[in-house]
């Protein structure tokens, strides 16, 4: 038998392992998915009540739908982000994860990846639901949406994981997640709504080049900043 201690897993394999763990737990319990999809449906209905069922006909699809979709996504996502870290918190698994001989950055990457997958799953339900409830055809915009939505979902997952971690350290911190995260998410949100509106209205995406560059840059920035700060966040 070799005397050497086993090498700690590399960054990528550690991240993938963490993502796999979170997704496997979610696959078994389906807790988060059910909670977020149901919440999203409720928010959609509330929006229909708030703006009137025929709002799309009156104001136009590009005006109403992107805002409704992204507000719903933001708040449903927050429901999910909260649970992602509370799971760990419950039996202090987070301390164990943080102490594991892996870069804490891998914890971020893994959890962000898992959150991205869960958000994408939510979106596959949300867009058809929106199309039906608000009576707006989205199938024609499927191609540009397939680019725009995942790009912004990456940013949302990164921010959600970052702030979810911050908030998980605070007492009763979950109440703070939306308050802390959403102002910081302003550029992401503005870009998401604008690009989604373009996609729905049929404007060629080339016209939104600067927005797409912005969100691409933001995604990279969020990842870098999170990797830099995650050590400090998970310290205790």
């Amino acid at each position: 038998m070799s005397d050497a201690a086993p090498r700690p897993p590399g960054f990528v394999s550690a991240s993938l392992a963490i993502a796999q763990k979170d997704l496997r737990i979610e696959g078994r319990t389906k807790e988060t998915t059910l909670a977020t999809v149901l919440f999203a449906l409720v928010v959609l209905v509330v929006f229909a009540f708030a703006f009137g069922g025929d709002a799309v006909q009156r104001a136009g699809a590009g005006t109403i739908v992107p805002g409704v979709v992204w507000v719903t996504l933001a708040f449903s996502g927050i429901v999910g982000f909260t649970r992602s870290f509370r799971l760990e918190r419950e039996d202090d698994a987070l301390a164990a994860v943080a102490l594991a001989p892996v870069d804490r950055g891998a914890v971020f990457a893994g959890k962000a990846l898992a959150n991205f997958v869960l958000l994408t799953a939510l979106e596959t339900a949300l867009f058809p639901l929106t199309s039906v409830l608000l009576d707006v055809p989205l199938l024609a915009a499927a191609a540009p949406l397939a680019l725009v939505v995942p790009l912004h979902t990456v940013g949302l997952a990164c921010l959600g994981t970052l702030f979810g971690a911050v908030v998980s350290r605070l007492q009763r911190g979950e109440a703070l997640l939306a308050t802390l995260m959403l102002p910081a998410a302003t550029p992401l949100f503005l870009s998401a709504v604008h690009c989604t509106a373009s996609a729905i209205e049929g404007t060629p995406l080339a016209a939104d080049r600067h927005w797409l560059l912005l969100i691409g840059g933001l995604d990279v920035l969020y990842v870098l900043v999170a990797l830099l700060l995650f050590d400090a966040i998970l310290e205790d």
Partner: protein, 230 residues
């Protein structure tokens, strides 16, 4: 050591009071009344310095927050708390004086233009940082979390500005090429002196708040030592 910093503090207080008095004199007794907007334009002499200093405080917050995360030296956290709190106060005053000026000048209390929106988002970010400190379970955790949030907020501000700018845009241009009416010399003097006065006031407030943070740390340490020695 205590002596000289007390002396500096007193000097700063006197300088602040003096320059404020000079500023007020210039604003109300020297600077001419603006042709179009009338007397209400004089709010500009406090609004502009408050806004400029708010963004200075973000820079200080970044320094304190990053410095604390890097070195874990308490002095950086004191700077961080002070610039976040005083910055938040100045930001509040900007958001109050802005609409008070805007309503008579342009007829609306608010518009979602880049500078205003960014200031509002900044206010929310700073409020979040102060709130997070209150929710922390230990001062050390509060310092760490607030520093993380502080770095994020500081980095976010320029991005928010750019994004909102693309989204909208129409703040009145006071200096620079878009300007139709250059400032009369009396106005420029009033603005500069007012800026200086508010800068001194800001420095004074930050110094006092940082001193308060340091004293509270000392008190907590002494109490903890006393409890442990029992």
């Amino acid at each position: 050591m205590r002596r000289s910093s007390d002396l500096a503090m007193s000097a700063l207080t006197v300088a602040t009071a003096g320059s404020m008095a000079a500023a007020l004199w210039l604003i109300f007794l020297v600077a001419p009344e603006e042709r179009v907007m009338g007397a209400v334009q004089k709010i500009f002499y406090v609004h502009v310095p408050l806004a400029a200093i708010t963004f200075l405080s973000v820079f200080l917050l970044l320094t304190g927050a990053a410095g604390y995360l890097w070195t874990r030296r308490a002095g950086f956290d004191h700077l961080s708390i002070a610039s976040a709190e005083v910055g938040w106060l100045f930001c509040t005053l900007v958001l109050v004086t802005g609409p008070i000026w805007a309503k008579p000048a342009w007829g609306v209390w608010w518009t979602w233009e880049a500078k205003l929106t960014t200031t509002l988002v900044l206010w929310l970010l700073l409020a979040g940082i102060l709130l997070a400190r209150a929710y922390a379970s230990t001062p050390e955790q509060g310092a760490r979390i607030a520093s993380v949030l502080g770095v994020i907020a500081a980095l976010d501000v320029p991005i928010v500005y750019k994004a909102v700018d693309w989204w909208r845009g129409q703040h009145p241009i006071v200096f620079g090429p878009g300007k139709t009416d250059p400032l009369a010399p009396g106005m420029l003097a009033a603005l500069l002196v007012s800026m200086g006065a508010f800068l001194l006031l800001f420095a004074l407030l930050v110094a006092v708040r940082a001193r308060l943070a340091a004293e509270e740390d000392r008190l907590a340490a002494l109490l903890e030592a006393a409890a442990r020695s029992r």
